[in-house]
Amino acid sequence: MLTNEEVKTAADFFTREIGRLAGEQPIRLMEVCGTHTVAIFKAGIRQLLPKSVELVSGPGCPVCVTPNEYLDTAIAYSKNPQVIITTFGDMLKVPGSTSSLAAQKAEGGDIRILYSPLESLEIAVANPHKKVIFLAVGFETTAPLAAATVLMAEKAGIKNFYVLSAHKLVPPALRALLMAEDIHVDGFLLPGHVSAVIGMAPYEFVVDEFQTPAVVAGFEPLDILQSIYLLVKQINEKTPKLENQYGRVALPAGNVVACQTLYKVYQRADAEWRGIGKLAGSGLAIREQYGNFDARTSIPVTVEATQEHVGCRCGQVLRGTILPTACPLFGKSCLPEHPVGSCMVSVEGTCAAWYKYGAGRWQG
């Protein structure tokens, strides 16, 4: 452990060096992960950076990038009295086209919040006449857990457990951002816990093909400051590379067992991202072999026609092209209590984080 004095000294060093290396030219760094977004706000890191260094949030909040169509499907399932929905709490308040899971729960839908996807299996065993659907949302950190739960259900012979997959993969989203003409990013803070699973190799294209600096970052304030320092140093020296600040958790090879489990149950599929659109091979669909666990193919459902919310600029926020404050709804009709768009819902959503921690700045 470090003493407060040691933390302060290290933070002073990084802050000073970032200022010295950054110079006058604007530098735009993207923290891809929603957990980083929150950590950056909590530690007040933006206030420590020179004016020329801007941090923008990326598409790394899984709930935020989940499209309306998925929510509408989950909401439609929740209206089926034979169905129990199990989900992480974040999904509850996300508005679909005309309703939300929270609204369905209030109307009597059996929707249960979990800490771990494994709890779905206990619920399935306790309710043999119901169909238990787990809302499998999340990146590579979370997807192996859902896959492991499917394998455990198979082993235990549980036949009333299903998964509705909206899993997404981080590297294809990075590629889409790097290829977009309207997005400019000088360097990426890469998600440490996704990296703990997938390792370093899947990011190599960021440097090899796009010559963009990238650092896998931890979540403590000093981890983030050091990662920003490493990025600014690369930019200053014009030596883009892939570095790992979070070596204590993000091993270069990742977690091989977790990746094997993930791809045993799932295969890559095209997926729709809110704000970004359809990206080839950026999502995960259940393999045919495990098709009896796939809610979409096993349980028929009629889903309403999807509508987008007029005025919500969540899509541009997720691409890092605007800050939440540029959205006309932010802090007015779109509030954490009554979110219009998904970015205001999840605690890790960019708009929610700006609203919670950024009040002093956006109110001027």
Binding site: E6, T9, S116
Partner: protein
């Protein structure tokens, strides 16, 4: 969503581990980290151990932060 915490494994039984996280104990699955051992620190995400913490790397990171002291107020 990718929030994860560090826990210390204090007991193991098949694919279940009892971990201590900040003074609280809970059972987690080690299906994704089957080589886990008692006494190890692991990263816990939604009821699963997803990675072992490399204590040597922890030490190196802390050393590096401490070494920055010599650059203080330069």
């Amino acid at each position: 969503m990718c929030l994860a915490v560090t826990g210390k494994i204090i007991a193991l039984q098949d694919m279940l581990a009892t971990v201590e996280i900040g003074g609280v104990t809970r059972k987690i699955s080690i299906m994704l980290l089957p080589e886990s051992k008692v006494g190890e620190f692991v990263l816990v995400h939604a009821g699963f151990a997803i990675q072992a913490i490399d204590e040597e790397e922890v030490r190196k990171t802390l050393e590096l932060f401490k070494e920055l002291e010599q650059y203080a107020d330069q």
